[in-house]
Subunit: 132 residues, 6 copies
């Protein structure tokens, strides 16, 4: 299995609902450094999993829709805790839609699976991985 | 599949038995930077794999029982080489017991698998991954 | 010159005032990974710049007063942009007060200078360094 | 499943054929920081996946045959784009041959799978993983 | 003293002249991950060393003129070895010119010094630091 | 001012004397990832601070005399706590002797200063910097 990964980041405010979150129930924020890993079993004729330029652009485009926001006010997350895991899934879903829409090129449609990892600090990170 | 990872470290002395180890047969030591990755297929009602606070506490508690020790004198490792791989397995086993004992909360019992990685330097690391 | 550094982090929400900030004028947030570097020309009788345990505790204590907050509502920052640079200076000032109050031990009073670095992402960081 | 990873690097010149590569069609170059991860389900009698010294030596030997080269002139890559993914596969193949030739020791023959990751910058990397 | 740092990268081919370089006399290449650190003693009225957006843009612009090139054919480096140190100095000089040309804004003209660091692998890096 | 840095590591056992060290009074150990930064104001005729190959070799040679040892039994450290700071100074002194002995080449004798940093974990490091 081949993979190709690109990294970018976004910065948001949010708060959590539920006693389990303790002081994180306050409005606070985070920088998420995001790794998107695209996987497929064979390379395209150029020798690529996906075009790295396109992969970077699509990740940047997806994160631009979240960057510099207060997620407590974003309709996409109404009634949800925007935990690292939930955000990893949301970014996964948006990147999968970009793949299906052909935004990573025709070759990109051959991507078999995708893993999105969000690093919230030097000591904690979360991810979601699934079929494309 | 979702995952949540936390990082901590411990510092020990030990020596290895066997010609394969060369100068590492001498009493020496290591800092191990430890990543514990918890995985499950669905999130709990809070949007979590496990509570990150509890995960950090349990990893810290497991490492506290190893930290600042000479592993050559620890009964748990009698007759065993405490290689990076062996230590990864031991920490895995102890974290699995913590999960089963409910120390990561009721939701923690839904963790499907765990991967423990020990980084012994900037150029070498080992891990053990298994079902919980 | 000797130095000793410890690392920790905090997570906050804030917004910036001024056209220069573009979309960062929105309420958003950040994780800051903080490095505090203590410097002095001679070691104490234990062979230390400062006790690493005390240094970690004091850094943690200073960051605990900022962690999980909306800095727009903190009186300490009223009328100020809480840029990475401004926060580095504020944490510097609070750590210097801890040094002067003896919270890093008698030996800690011999610290000559301190540098506080805040990493806001994998591609940007800021710092403040000065005499203690 | 256990794993053991070692890291090294190599530095090469190359160019790419195909409009998809844009300015990377020019002769340019890269540093690749290479991680080789060996996996097996049980440890050997020394408590090892593979001898870390031998693993490091074999990785170094494989990379020495690529280091300080212009890959456009290497017969091994004639007619191929030496993308990160293609190079990961080539290094994988060469390490598998080393395993089969006994260069990682008798125990090394029990390695079940191998993953080779090439980091080309702080924001992009690729890998190939397969059975040994 | 305050500082603000931004990171980017570029990928080039080159060769070195001189017996001291051994196999690096061959045409090969490198990825350089570049950190530019701007320093000044007081912040501007926005609380900034320099606008981080402008700093990132200027670093990107300077690196774009080097990226995807064979430096052996660049007039700017004729008769020079393009070592990590020499490249650090060249990027320093180009960023200083950008500062003086006002490309980092009026506030940017108050930058007192600049350090440019090029990381060529996980085990080697070089830098140049000087007055602006 | 130019600088050139190289990285390597060593692994030792030791214990500390003094109540300040708490549980670190037990025999334990550490991996130290070591960065040696050589500085000078002008480059040599090859465009170098020091030959990176020689710098790496000398750092490796100095660390080889410490690696896989129990520092409590090393005459060089009798009656001393082998703290991170003390070890940084010892490695500094040994590298300075190598410079003076011409082991970094004639050009190496022009090195003005040296900084040695020992990273003992992902959250703590120490250094010593001085004239050569």
């Amino acid at each position: 299995m081949y993979s190709l990964s690109v990294r970018d980041h976004f910065m948001i405010a949010h708060s959590f609902q539920g006693d389990a979150f303790g002081p994180a129930q306050n409005l606070h924020g985070a920088t998420y450094v995001v790794d998107a890993t695209f996987r497929r079993s064979e390379l395209d004729t150029d020798g690529l999993v996906v075009d790295i330029g396109r992969a970077s652009e699509q990740l940047r485009a997806v994160l631009a829709d979240l960057n510099y926001r207060n997620l407590d006010e974003e309709p996409a997350f109404a009634g949800k805790n925007t935990t690292t895991e939930v955000l990893a899934r949301e970014i996964f879903d948006r990147l999968v839609r970009a793949v299906h829409a052909g935004k990573l090129g025709d070759a990109g449609r051959s991507v078999a699976s995708l893993c999105v990892t969000l690093r919230e600090s030097h000591v904690a990170w979360g991810s979601y991985e699934g079929q494309v």
